[in-house]
């Protein structure tokens, strides 16, 4: 069995990152480095209104006064912010009217990723907004959605089309001076997705974005803004991949979600950026600020994430429960292998009365990786009768990895209930023996146990993602235990 385990482990370490290909398409790039000129360049390229340029510059000036945070349980060499290209767009030949006009090579990329636009468009009915490097290339289904009054387009398009909506909500959940990476993003964000669901509309399809970092030395700073107006519902999916590179690529995105009265927003991510090779070289630094606010009463925001990629993940999708009776949810599976480091978790800030939140976090660490859960649950004085339940479990595969839990709980009123529980363990020999005994091979048994372990979270994913997530889990982990 020992030998078999070793074989499986070997196989695992051999398994290459299957999304590591590089698409050679003509790129329109900003010169390396960061200065007010870079920002003016980006802003001019995108034909932005004056107020947005001001917003960027203000964020940049503030960023200059800030220092990079070091509190996370991750280690990485210092990032040279002047050695990054802040804007890289595939060169457009002309305005794209239909799918046929999209650069065939780009379409090829999508095919390799397994998200054929036509397929998706025709069969699955998923509207995809594909973001390659920094610019949204093509948004499918926009027209169908438009009939319902739903606005789903790239961020830059929204700036041109619905500037007043963007201006009203941009930076209201994640202010430009929120943190170091949020300030950086606010200064140089290139593109992303914008989504507005009008009053009382239930979005008929699942909206989806695909992010992919393509060019070398580029940072991806996308910006997503989702607004659920009163009584609306939307399920939004985000997937991410990056090609294989030896250098580290920086990804510092912001996602803002606003849920008004009775609105429900469900946000799902499958993150599969390039994690670096097995020696720990290369990979994506994923420093993301994701936050939603339940503004109105009875609103609900739900985050579901499956994190299998990135050399370093540093993200805390959070919910500010401002409206009375609002609900926040966080479901996460984070897998780390080789030299990957993940410091992820959530924040639930209870401001309104009778608010509820649930946190389910499953960490799996293998190889020499470190996987940390860091969460905050805060019950403020006003949040009477609020309720939180958190569970964060860690599974250790191998004796060189680390699993850590940093839960912060702050309660300031007497009527709220906060419960937190966590366990750390490994797959026991008894469990494996039991499966072997019934004719299930060690590899399948581990797959079974890990999938069972993560099931609680996986079942929260939309169908389209659940399949991919399960595949990713198997790819990253199967057989890595002894």
């Amino acid at each position: 069995m020992e030998k078999e385990t070793n074989n499986i482990l070997h196989e695992l370490t051999q398994s290459e990152y299957k999304y590591g290909f590089y698409t050679d398409i003509a790129m329109d790039m900003a010169p390396k480095g960061l200065s007010e000129d870079t920002i003016r360049f980006i802003s001019a390229k995108k034909n932005e209104p004056e107020w947005l340029l001001e917003y960027r510059l203000k964020a940049f000036r503030h960023w200059l006064t800030m220092v990079e945070p070091t509190w996370a349980h991750v280690h990485y060499p210092a990032i040279d912010y002047q050695d990054i290209i802040y804007y890289a767009a595939p060169k457009r030949k002309k305005e794209l009217k239909s799918l046929d006009e999209v650069d065939p090579e780009l379409l090829d990329t999508f095919k390799k990723l397994g998200i054929s636009l036509e397929e998706q468009k025709r069969l699955s009915g998923v509207a995809v907004d594909a973001v390659i490097d920094s610019v949204s290339v093509k948004t499918t289904f926009s027209e169908t959605l438009e009939k319902q009054g739903i606005i789903f387009c790239s961020f830059s398009e929204a700036v041109q089309k619905v500037p007043e909506l963007v201006r009203q909500y941009l930076g209201t959940v994640v202010p430009p001076d929120d943190n170091y990476f949020a300030a950086l993003n606010s200064a140089v964000f290139s593109d992303g997705s914008f989504c507005y669901i009008p009053k009382g509309v239930r979005c008929p399809v699942e909206l989806s974005t695909y992010f992919r970092i393509n060019a070398a030395n580029t940072g991806q700073f996308e910006r997503t803004l989702i607004i659920g107006d009163e009584g609306s519902y939307v399920s939004y999916m985000e997937g991410c991949t990056a090609p294989m590179r030896d250098e580290n690529q920086l990804h510092a995105a912001i996602v803002e979600i606003i849920a008004l009265k009775d609105a429900e927003v469900k946000y799902s991510t499958v993150q599969n950026w390039y994690p670096g090779n097995k020696k720990g070289e290369g990979g994506v630094y994923n420093f993301v600020t994701k936050r939603g606010i339940c503004k109105g009463t009875h609103s609900k925001i739900s985050w579901t994430q499956v994190e299998t990629g990135s050399a370093i993940t540093w993200k805390y999708p959070s919910v500010i429960l401002m409206g009375d009776h609002s609900v926040g949810e966080f479901y996460s599976v984070a897998v780390t292998n080789h030299f990957q480091q993940a410091d992820t978790g959530t924040k639930m800030i209870h401001l309104g009365k009778n608010t509820r939140s649930t946190i389910i976090s499953k960490g799996i660490s293998a190889g020499r990786s470190n996987n940390s859960y860091r969460g905050l649950v805060k019950m403020t004085k006003r949040a009477a009768n609020s309720r939180n339940f958190s569970q964060c479990d860690s599974l250790l595969l191998g004796d060189r990895c680390g699993a850590h839990t940093f839960p912060y709980i702050k309660a300031e009123n007497r009527s709220s209930i906060v419960e937190h529980e966590a366990t750390t363990s490994k797959i026991s020999d008894e469990q494996l023996y039991y499966c072997n005994q019934r004719g299930i091979s060690t590899e399948s048994a581990i797959g079974l146990i890990v999938n069972g372990y993560a099931r609680e979270v996986l079942k929260k994913l939309p169908m389209e993602f659940a399949v991919e997530a399960q595949k990713l889990l198997s790819l990253s982990l199967e057989g890595s235990v002894g």
């Binding site: 680390g402 912060y408 363990s425 490994k426």
Partner: protein, 467 residues
């Protein structure tokens, strides 16, 4: 900005004081100790007092207590109280070997018992038992990361030294009572060292009390070394006045097969911080770290527990429970570290809190850091109220609402109280908890000490509404 200024003022005063009185502080110190003091002083000099920007101190603010014109006594102040009367313990039938400490100074007479047990003043022990002290002193306390420990190491004058030789079982519990009583606002540094030999055992009760109402800051560091298969049953009882601050850092070092049980019971105090660090350094060692805190008014309690699983096959268990009323605030920060290769570790951690008022605040952070895979670790934390269903059940059986509430709170605390191994002490604490929960006691009477007799100049703030 003010905060920084205030802190640096006290820090600056301490720095000047150290330079001026270095001769007195280090007189009679062997060279290694002089060196250690200098090193600790340099550490403290570099970073000053801990402030709320530090992760470990974010919820405990020392700036208010440091904003006083402190005196740093170099010698014991003249006594105006009757020692026997003050230290007479009010635990009935509790026959202990009493070690009185006044403002940190060892007040008894140093003695070496026929079985080889040494109970002595720290200052004296440094001269009398140089090998024992040099072998252990400063080896377990962390002056690199803990600034208050560095401060203590540089400035300490006295404390208690206890040595239990191999194979000796102390039947009689030892009770250390440290009283703070001074006409002035004092800042004292108390340093204790307890060494348990192989297969030895001891029960130790460490009481911190104040008998006047002056502002005082007591910064105590206790190092405990437990050799192979030794057993220690340790209790901390804390009853300070509401103006005082007590920072209590205890460092336990456990060798193979050692068994520790430590229980911190905090009933009163302006600001209490218990830093408990346990290093499980030998296989099959076990540590139980328990705590109970019942806080009201504007009291602040901070329990920091660090358990270091350095070797395989060790177990630890942490349980802290607290009830917070009025404006009281509580902090729990539990940290379990399982080092690489510390396989077969079992570590459990739990913190349960009940908030009685809307003004009370609790911050809890049960933190696991694990680098070995064959472990069973779990932690939990809850904040809530009493179980409504349970209360309804009691009420439906004719028990009044208030009584039902009392009963449930008592049951909540009983988890910790029941674990006290010394029957007399358990009964006494049990009684105190009951009385406290009924609101029948003034803060003074909760004290395990008998100190409310008329002839003494004792003044306590008594909240009439609670009597």
């Amino acid at each position: 900005m003010d905060e920084t200024n205030i802190q640096s003022n006290t820090a600056e005063k301490l720095q000047a004081f150290f330079k001026k009185n270095k001769g007195v502080l280090t007189s009679g110190d062997p060279p290694y100790l002089v060196q250690l003091r200098n090193q600790a002083f340099a550490q403290f000099n570099e970073r000053g007092f801990p402030h709320t920007r530090l992760e470990k101190w974010r919820n405990t603010d020392l700036s208010r207590i440091l904003d006083h014109d402190f005196h740093f006594p170099l010698k014991p102040s003249p006594l105006d109280v009757d020692l026997d009367e003050v230290f007479r313990c009010e635990v009935p039938d509790f026959n202990t070997r009493l070690i009185p400490q006044m403002n940190g100074w060892f007040m008894g007479s140093g003695e070496k018992l026929p079985n080889g047990v040494i109970i002595s003043s720290m200052a004296e022990a440094i001269k009398k038992y140089p090998e024992l002290i040099e072998k252990h002193f400063g080896h377990y306390a962390d002056i690199k990361n803990e600034n208050l420990t560095a401060l203590n190491t540089a400035f300490f004058r006295d404390g208690v030294f206890i040595y239990v030789p191999d194979n000796i079982r102390m039947e009689q519990p030892v009770q250390m009572v440290d009283l703070v009583n001074s006409g002035r606002t004092i800042f004292i540094q108390v340093r204790n060292l307890i060494v348990l030999g192989k297969n030895s055992s001891m029960s130790l009760v460490q009481c911190d009390d104040s008998i006047d109402n002056n502002v005082g800051f007591n910064n105590t560091v206790t190092e405990v070394y437990m050799d192979e298969n030794s057993t220690l049953d340790h209790y901390k009882l804390q009853n300070k006045n509401n103006e005082s601050a007590l920072t209590n850092s205890t460092y336990f070092h456990l060798e193979k097969g050692a068994n520790l049980s430590t229980n911190a019971i905090s009933l009163n105090g302006g600001l209490i911080r218990n830093e408990t660090q346990v290093r499980l350094n030998g296989s099959n060692s076990h540590a139980d770290v328990l705590g109970l805190y019942l806080m009201d008014h504007e009291q602040h309690i901070d329990n920091q527990v660090f358990i270091d699983h350095a070797v395989p096959h060790c177990t630890s268990n942490e349980l802290f429970k607290g009830i917070l009323d009025d404006h009281a605030s509580g902090v729990f920060n539990g940290h379990i570290l399982v080092r690489p290769d510390a396989q077969q570790t079992n570590a459990y951690q739990n913190n349960k809190n009940i908030l009685i008022s809307d003004k009370a605040v609790i911050d809890t952070k049960p933190f696991l850091e694990i680098y070995a895979d064959d472990v069973k670790c779990s932690h939990g934390a809850t904040v809530g109220q009493l179980d409504e269903d349970a209360r309804f059940y009691l009420q439906s059986r004719g028990i009044g609402r208030d009584n039902a509430q009392m009963l449930l709170m008592y049951a909540f605390a009983a988890d910790i109280v029941d674990k006290i191994a010394i029957p007399q002490l358990r009964n006494r604490i049990d009684d105190l908890v009951k009385k406290r929960l009924r609101g029948e006691l003034s803060s003074c009477e909760q004290c395990v000490l008998h100190c409310n007799s008329k002839e003494q100049k004792v003044a306590f703030e008594i909240d009439m509404s609670r009597i």
